[in-house]
């Protein structure tokens, strides 16, 4: 038991989310492995983003348990935590389907906001920072260095001082991932990171996500429609349809699963029986 708990970063048990009479997610259970990329796929309206919103605290689940375990063995019950606490303490960060950057702030500033809590402490909750405490200046330099590192990784170092709002679409996607990484998450939730990217950009994104997994050991939870991205990089795939899990397994298993094919493509009537 303890052995499996150590390998599992996020344990979703019987997660149900109802909006009035609408059941968006129904009794969903799955485990996301530590240091792996887990993809959640499914047709439009399958409830993927709802699952994300439950995990990151933007929705309070109707039923179910979301247990996050750090490598240190520390447990967090995410369904009981508020959104910003999940990001700050449980260290789960996310990106959004429709990019949510701070458009009027520069790329660098975006990455510094992600390090807010750390910098807040270093600035003595503003009091010490106001008088120019050397410890804060040091922390700020470190924060800028971390931002510089991630900007370099996403190839936007030259655009560091440009407002995020003027960056190209693909660059904004990458910046949002970098911003989420600057908050030093143990679990990174990406909501359709490849949406709107051309094949070359999608390929680069794959390499970037694999690098994140391999170098930082951050576990990744991924919602994606882009099958090439899903099949190439995910270690495990969970398929949702109408709020229910219809399949789970390795990309190869999922590819051949008749239920998954049926959910995506539809089937002839007689084949269902």
């Amino acid at each position: 038991m303890s052995e499996t708990a150590r390998d599992t970063i996020l344990d979703v048990q019987h997660l149900t989310m109802r909006f009035g009479g609408l059941v968006a997610v129904n009794d969903l259970s799955f485990k996301a492995a530590r240091g792996k990329i887990t993809a959640i796929i499914g047709p439009n309206g399958a409830g993927k983003t709802t699952v994300f919103n439950c995990i990151t605290g933007f929705y309070q689940p109707t039923e179910g348990m979301l247990e996050l375990t750090h490598a240190t063995g520390k447990h967090f019950l995410l369904e009981r935590m508020r959104d910003f606490k999940i990001a700050a303490h449980a260290r789960v960060t996310r990106t959004f389907q429709n990019i949510r950057l701070f458009a009027g702030m520069t790329a660098l500033e975006n990455l510094l906001v992600a390090q807010h809590n750390h910098l807040m402490k270093a600035s003595g909750f503003t009091v010490l920072g106001l008088v120019g405490w050397p410890g804060y200046r040091h922390a700020k330099r470190e924060a800028i260095d971390r931002a510089r590192f991630w900007l370099d990784r996403i190839g936007l170092l030259a655009r560091a001082d440009d407002p995020a709002g003027v960056l190209a679409y693909g660059q904004q996607r990458r910046l949002e991932i970098a911003r989420a990484m600057c908050a030093e998450p143990v679990l990174l939730c990406l909501d359709e990171p490849a949406a709107g990217l051309n094949p070359r950009e999608a390929h680069e994104l794959n390499k970037f996500l694999l690098a994140i997994r391999n170098e930082t050991g951050t576990s990744i939870l991924l919602i994606e429609h882009h099958m090439r991205v899903v099949m190439e990089i995910s270690d495990q795939v969970v398929v949702l349809d109408y709020g229910q899990k219809i399949a789970e397994g390795s990309p190869a298993e999922i590819r051949g699963d008749p239920k998954v094919i049926a959910a995506y493509l539809g089937v002839e009537k007689e084949e269902v029986a």
Partner: protein
């Protein structure tokens, strides 16, 4: 933009759209007739026996309609043939960028000027009083800029904190005999406490809803002050508030007074000059703290909150605390300004804290441009200076004021200085046009 040497555009200029212009002018004349027929065409006067009589003024009506027709026709010819809005032709858009470049020199110049104002206008009591007023509003606007400009929380009840500061000082100084320097921080603390009190119920609100609640809050404070007769003196206000002393030395003509101690001839101007430097120092502290806060994580969090609250939460920013600190910090500066106001006036009453004051301070912030400290200072100077300038034309004051507002909103819809300076940079500080910042708020 139109290039005059371009043959195509030259052709466009030559082909005057007279028909369209006549149509525009006709529409304008009909509208003007609707308005003027009653306003100008009929005059009501008390008749010989006291009853109202109506006299017709057809000549005036016809003349004004002709003026409207010709005026609109000319404007239409001008704009239609050049295909450029009139006002942007009159005022070059480049002025805005040059204003920004000017800032580097203008800010120190303005500061230097502010420092020598009492020397230059020592004998002009009226101008000194006006300068104190301008600085008070500059300070208020800088304080409000934290809430509205940085955190993006539209606050229409800012004057409430100004009132709290003023009454805090008045009551503490009168009832407990505390000195100004003790009361000043206390007034700030009390005002920021009320800022947090306002902050809690409005945490979930944004935009118009927030504006309505803050507006109501401002009125509540004023009405409570008016009706709580035992405590605040009600509509009669509080008089005999202790005047400021020069660190304990009063500005009086006694042998103990400021003039006698410094071997000067006694004049009431000493106190005015002292008050001037006091409010200048307070305003500069407000400005310096704001600039500093912007470079600290809290200031960045305020701006991030203005841009996208959900993204903030997803990054672990405690939006509750962030909003409350914005309200509290803004309110604190209003509290300081309030206690200065009380000590300067020596008398306060609820009438000084009406909604118009909130609106005026907000107008200064909006006109100045929400990004720039200098823009706000210039806007305060122009607004209050303008008010004074047109004091003799009492009736037309609001008319000119309104026209100026419309002009600025057409010419510079985002305020005088409409760029945002990044709080931190790697290579080069590049100003961000307000259009990008604004877009994010939609």
């Amino acid at each position: 933009m139109l290039v005059p040497n371009d043959p195509k555009s030259a052709e466009r200029v030559s082909r005057l759209d007279v028909g369209g212009a006549i149509k525009d002018a006709a529409v304008a004349t009909v509208v003007a007739f609707g308005l003027f027929s009653l306003m100008l065409g009929l005059l009501t006067q008390p008749g010989p026996s006291g009853q109202l009589t109506i006299s017709e003024r057809p000549k005036l009506l016809i003349v004004s309609l002709i003026v409207v027709f010709v005026g609109r026709f000319l404007v239409a010819i001008f704009t239609r043939s050049l295909r450029v809005p009139l006002i942007s032709r009159l005022i070059s858009p480049k002025l805005s960028t040059s204003f920004r470049q000017l800032e580097r020199f203008a800010a120190p110049a303005l500061l230097g000027f502010a420092l020598v104002v009492p020397v230059l206008f020592y004998s002009n009591r009226y101008l000194l009083d006006l300068a104190i007023l301008v600085l008070t509003y500059t300070m208020l606007a800088w304080g409000l800029n934290i809430v509205v400009g940085l955190a993006g929380l539209l606050d229409l009840g800012y004057v409430a904190f100004y009132a709290v500061g003023a009454y805090s000082y008045a009551l503490l100084a009168k009832n407990f005999g505390l000195s100004f320097w003790v009361c000043l921080p206390l007034a700030g603390i009390l005002a920021s406490f009320w800022g947090i009190m306002l902050g809690f119920p409005v945490l979930r609100l944004r935009g118009d809803y927030l504006a309505i609640v803050t507006l109501a809050f401002g009125e509540i404070i004023r009405i409570v002050i008016t009706n709580w007769q035992d405590f605040t003196g009600g509509p009669n206000g509080i008089s005999g508030i202790p005047r400021p002393s020069f660190f304990g030395i009063p500005f009086t003509s006694d042998p103990e007074g400021f003039a006698a101690l410094f071997h000067l001839e006694f004049t009431p101007t000493h106190r005015v000059v002292f008050l001037y430097y006091l409010i200048l120092a307070l305003a500069l502290i407000t400005c310096a703290v704001t600039i500093r806060l912007r470079q600290l994580p809290i200031g960045r969090a305020w701006e991030a909150l203005r841009e996208d609250e959900i993204a903030c939460r997803s990054l672990g920013v405690n939006t509750t605390n962030t909003k409350l600190t914005a309200f509290a910090t803004g309110a604190m500066f209003a509290g300081f300004a309030g206690s200065f106001f009380a000590t300067r006036q020596g008398f306060i009453s609820p009438e000084s804290f009406v909604f118009m004051e909130s609106a005026l301070v907000l107008a200064i912030v909006v006109l100045g441009g929400m990004g720039s400290q200098l823009g706000v200072a210039v806007a305060a100077l122009v607004m209050l200076g303008g008010f004074e300038l047109f004091r003799n034309f009492e009736q037309f004051r609001m008319l000119i004021f309104g026209a100026a507002m419309v002009g600025i909103m057409v010419w510079r819809p985002r305020g005088l200085v409409a760029t945002r300076t990044p709080s931190v940079y790697l290579e080069k500080k590049k100003d961000i046009p307000a259009a990008i910042v604004e877009e994010a708020r939609q």
